[in-house]
Structures are given as structure tokens and as C-alpha cells.
Symmetry: C2
Subunit: 200 residues, 2 copies
Amino acid sequence: MRALKSMVELVPEIVVLRWGHRPRDFRVTAHVGLTARALGASGLILSDIQDFDLQRNILNVVKNWGGSFFVQVGRPWKETVQEWKKNRGAIVHLTMYGENLETSDVLDRIRKSSKNILLLVGSQKVPAEFYSRDISDFNVAVGSQPHSEVAALAVFLDRLYKGKELKRKFEDAKLSVMPSRRGKRVIENEKSCEKCASGP
Amino acid sequence: MRALKSMVELVPEIVVLRWGHRPRDFRVTAHVGLTARALGASGLILSDIQDFDLQRNILNVVKNWGGSFFVQVGRPWKETVQEWKKNRGAIVHLTMYGENLETSDVLDRIRKSSKNILLLVGSQKVPAEFYSRDISDFNVAVGSQPHSEVAALAVFLDRLYKGKELKRKFEDAKLSVMPSRRGKRVIENEKSCEKCASGP
């Protein structure tokens, strides 16, 4: 399974900046990171907080399941945003208060900006300036109801990439799944390893 | 804002069964429940475990943000599945080992079954029988990578309902959001309550 190249190119490049992580909410941020990786983002920046356990956990998934996803921890969020802007990237803030992904043209406008995207994913309450022009180019709502930043991230990526992200192969994977109607089929390198819960 | 009827009908009806909840993972299950509600499901069944705090928290969101979402806790999962099958509903199991939502025809086949859906959303490791014909009619993967049941649920609902779920109004909401390019606009009943972080 070495060097199984991805045949699917995902444009634009997206990096997720997770703001407001608390180590006691480890699992939610882990879900943000793993969703970012699985649905096409290039990396996760865990701003302001150095949670090396989280970083190690996500990188262990990368090691086993392939691809080149990076995880950076502890950098102040403003530094990342300023650098991103300097390099002419777009900043998209996911928030239930923003423009509706379904009923507005915000996704078209993001696409037309032809920029790589830093995607701000907050937690409970983000700084007020996240909504301002100084920080975000777009405030995008996956519906205007309170729900989950993991869900919002997933739907945003799926729509932006039009589902292509689910066709990708991950390079240099030690493990991969053979999709099945029944049971579990996990391939280790070249060797099929049946861990079927029940036969097909 | 009373009796603001939804103009969007979502078919089929979906109820989410959350299996494997642990009270210490409260937040992930809360995300499952809130995502289910926000993206069109009718209710959440938290199987086997009676977590009344979780139930109360989600129902508080329903009270404030409207709609008729139900939360049931503590019933053995097999009972729910058996009842659902007796009433000729379909059982869809979300799992990274299942048929790929993007590259297979599984979503078409689910639609053609014309049945209401009990959507099984597990956590770390589900019972082997979940994959079998005795339990699931369809095993569906939102990509074949490890990520998040919240993300998988969100993408599945968004695709099944073709985005219509994001157009819905929630009946009898005390609070609703007016989507905005900048800032936060929350409407309390008929009265606009500006909590703008920064002006438009």
C-alpha cells in the first residue's frame, strides 16, 4: 500500500484553526481534527494551547491511515491569521450567526475568491473580532441553529469539495478499509486482514 | 415568532439511535443530538443509558430554539431496532467500514426503500451484529477513514435531504438567528435583539 497516490485533487487548500480548545474537551477537538483530515483539509492548527496528547493522537491516525496531514499546537491565533492574510489567503469563520450555506451565495463567493482557506472553528464563545473584517472574510453558517462545530466543519468541507474528498486515497497508509455492505474489511499493507464482524 | 410553520417538508423521517454513550463523553453525544435536531432528524434515542442531564440539556435547546425534537433515554437498543423493523422502517448504520456514500449507490437504494429511517450512530466499537442483516439494512460510510460520528451524521443528513434541512424554520422558537455577513443577530420572539459583536 506504499505510495498509493491520490488521484483526486482538492482545491482550494484548507487549513483548520481550532480556537478555544480545552483539554477536558479533548474528544471534541479530536473529532474536529480527524474530520478535517478525513474530509480533505491539509492540517489542524490548535491555537494558543499546547496539547501534545491531542497532537500525538491525531498524528498516530495519520501514521496508520496515511496522507500528509499536519498538526500544529500552541501558536497564538492572531499570528496565524495575520500570516495567512499576508499570504493572500481567505479566512472563513464557521458560525451559526453567519450567512446560510444553503440559502445564500456565500459558497460561490468563497470559490470565486480563488484563495486557499484558513477555516476558523470555534467552540462555545469566540472573540467578537472573529466576525469583523479585520479577521474574517466570510462568516458562514451551516444552518442558524446551535449544533456542533464538528458537524459544521464536515458539511462545509463536503460542499466545498463537492463530495470529491470522499473519493481520495491516502498515501502511504498502513491501514485502509475496503468498503463493504456487511462486516469490516481492513487491509494491512498488501495483505487483506479480515476482521469481519459477520460475513458478507 | 409563535407558530412559525416550517415550509420545508423533510422526507423520510429519521430518528437517530445513539449507541455507546458514556456520561464522561457527554459533549460528543450532545453534539450528536444537536446535529440530529439541527439537520432534520425527528428525535434522538440514547440507548441503554439513562443520562437525564444530557436529555435535559438537549430539550432546553428545543425549548429555546423551537421545533418538536424528542429525546428518549435508557431503552435497550434491541427493543428499539425490533420495534422499528416491525413497523417496516429501515435501519441505516453509519460506519467507516460500510458502503461509500460518494462512490456507491447506497444513498439511492436507501431513498428507493421509501421507508422512515432509524439511524444507528455508534461510538468507539459497536457490537458485531450491527453490521449483520439481522440489524442493519444498510451500512453506510462517510468516507472510509476514522473520523467522527458527528461529522458522519451531518454529511449523511445533508445529502439525504439535499440541503433542504438548512432552509427549515423551527416552530415556536423563542430565539432565532438572522443570518448576517458580520456580527450576531438574535431575534427574541418578535423583537430584534442586537448582540452584534461588530456592526455590519
